[in-house]
Symmetry: C2
Subunit: 413 residues, 2 copies
């Protein structure tokens, strides 16, 4: 774990060279960061430096001075679909298919109930859920099944293609596993769902802003995701909902609100849904959180998602290489203190590295004291997220060095 | 409509005297206002002057510097129930029964599905809805009925007591009618619901922060409401959900999220609901909007809701008196250009005055040009909301004068 061996010096030089050659490196200056290494952007993205002034304007001028007039004059009313259209290209979606509203869980509920209604045949009894799903998606799916008279079938992602069939109404999969960082095969599983006649619903929380998704290209039906991780929208910023254009006319939301009415200010006692993605809206949008997100999205101007993906993979490769060098006993060997839960093959890797470590809580506590911030998923997983817009190779090496040092301090459990 | 008759001078003097004697008058200084008269606080409350600095701190320090640590260190995680406890006394609720989360519509959905589940007897086929309800509540109620196998019965509020019976599972009533400003009899209708064995669900959007509600005293079962009107939480600030303590153990939400799990970070595939009001939470809370609301609530420190109600009634009485004096032809006479939809008796009046006026859109446009801001509900209703914390009697008189002047300019339709 010495930082002064030949290999260690080589890694230091390589980190510097990789940073120097990184076309995304200048974007780091757009964010508020400190001397530490922030590897928790897969939980809460860092603050873009221009956002505070934009939020201040929303509060002091738009709310404080214009007040009610801002619903028109400041574009508040149309913010959910306008911001959806800002996010759409990052997901590989044409305009008019993404709306920003509510939380991810609420959007999972809309999507799954609507998915079942797209497949009303009563023989389609099953909502199939990725068995490794973020738990909340499973809770909501269970509720959607209960309310629509369907049942939940939990299937390991690897077994999904063979598990889908004529009884499947819809399938809900997490694009990237929140715990392991495994990337699932969105094109293949979507095609498998369609081959079975089912509706494919994707949760993009851990892929939106981290890698190309290709919603339109791969024929995804419905998708949801959060905006506070790799999209840097701020704590609890509202989630998005994608409804493929071909489904919009039949999208039958279980949460019909006045914001999704065709003529909201008619105050009609009868519900008549609006056209397009805004059919996914419900109630009055939370403007402060929404417009902070809108401001944050400026950092994506001109950024190509293929470059983001290339850097993400280079970062996680380099992180694993550094860990192998610095950590006493390396990674993934029989006696290693840490082993990677994240798949090695690029095609199966998201933008985080998850390390199994028996002493995970104590290790993370000491890492955070040193300014290296990741998080723990109980009982024994250390998670490190790599946000390509603001994480560099020197950061990555420094984090690996810190992990090696902390492991040397923390006794084996 | 002259402002220089004996009566007009008298009204001017009375306005000044009423303002001088108003115990709430000093609160006006807490808000950002201009020289105009803002009578749209029943749509979007004015900005409390201390809020911008608090929001700036949330953005720049809590998000920008502490980042993920703020979920604990800045109290983000517990904000929904903490802020709920700040709102609870304004609604006459003991602590532990109010949570702030999601939009009003989403909370109506939670409340109505949960209400039906509190009355699972299949003979209770009906969800009864106030026929004059804010339309979105009706849309959501229809969805809740569809998903729980119930039907919607729309009943005029005056006929509610006789319409409730052994087939009623739940009844949803708006405490104050959004259009007319009529205040419904919450104690009486709640008692009638209970006599019928039904669950009483109240929408408090137009009463929270405007008048005493007495949720606990009157035995209300479930209630929802928004926080951006009389509670001044900011545009689209999250809504609240009240679940009476006696129902919390059986409160079975259709939107079970990880934030309402008994142990969210166990990441348990099975849902086990938390105890108490936080069972009404769903996904990750929208922190910027939530904490702006929390800051805004400081203006209520030490304010007694009985004083608010007394001032509200005095303001609306005075407004009607001024209109009668200044408007050519007065109010509510056979040939008057404006007639009040809002009931005269105090027991049936909320904190707004709704005037029917054939030329409502043109009149409001000119009023806004003069700095007198209300709004229109199509086709012919002028709405003026009186927020007792920052609206004074001189404001009220000035608005009436402006209305009289504008009516003199706008030809009869």
């Amino acid at each position: 774990m010495s930082d002064d061996t030949m290999t260690a010096r080589d890694l230091r030089h390589r980190a510097a060279a990789l940073d120097a050659a990184d076309p995304l490196a200048p974007l780091r200056e757009l964010f508020v960061l400190d001397e530490g290494v922030y590897l928790d952007g897969n939980s809460l993205g860092a603050l873009p430096a221009h956002v505070p002034a934009r939020v201040a304007d929303v509060v002091a001028r738009q709310w404080g001075e214009l007040r009610i007039r801002s619903w028109e004059e400041s574009g508040w009313w149309t913010a959910p679909e306008r911001i959806g259209d800002r996010i759409a290209p990052l997901l590989g979606a044409a305009p008019g298919q993404v709306v920003v509203a509510d939380s991810t869980s609420v959007n999972v509920f809309k999507a799954l109930v609507a998915a079942v209604r797209l497949r009303p045949d009563e023989d389609r009894t099953d909502i199939v859920v990725d068995a490794t799903t973020f738990p909340a998606d499973g809770y909501v799916a269970q509720s959607a099944a209960r309310l629509t008279g369907r049942r939940i079938v939990r299937v390991e992602p690897a077994r999904l293609p063979s598990a889908l069939g004529p009884a499947t109404a819809a399938v809900l999969v997490n694009h990237v596993d929140f715990r392991s960082g495994r990337l699932h095969d969105l094109p293949g599983l979507t095609a498998a769902a369609h081959a079975a006649g089912a509706v494919a619903v994707w949760d993009l929380c851990h892929s939106a802003g981290a890698l190309p998704v290709g919603l339109d290209a791969h024929g995804v039906d419905l998708a949801v995701g959060c905006t506070y991780k790799y999209l840097n929208g701020g704590p609890g910023s509202p989630a998005f909902l994608y409804v493929a254009e071909r489904h919009q006319g039949a999208f039958d939301s279980p949460l019909p609100g006045w914001n999704s009415h065709a003529d909201p200010f008619a105050m009609d006692p009868g519900y008549a849904p609006a056209e397009g993605a805004l059919r996914g809206r419900v109630g009055t949008p939370d403007i402060l959180s929404l417009l902070a997100l809108e401001a944050s999205l400026d950092v994506w101007n001109g950024v190509c998602m293929d470059s983001v993906r290339a850097k993400s993979l280079a970062l996680t490769d380099f992180f694993l290489e550094c860990l192998e060098e610095y950590v006493d006993g390396g990674v993934n060997h029989p006696d290693s203190r840490v082993s990677s839960l994240t798949p090695g093959p690029h095609a199966a890797r998201g933008s985080q590295i998850a390390l199994r470590c028996a002493e995970a809580p104590a290790v993370m506590e000491r890492l955070i004291e040193r300014g290296v911030v990741g998080d723990v998923r109980r009982p024994d997983v250390l998670r490190f997220g790599f946000a390509p817009l603001y994480t560099g190779f020197a950061d990555t090496r420094a984090a690996a060095v810190a992990i090696a040092e902390v492991l040397a301090e923390v006794p084996r459990a």
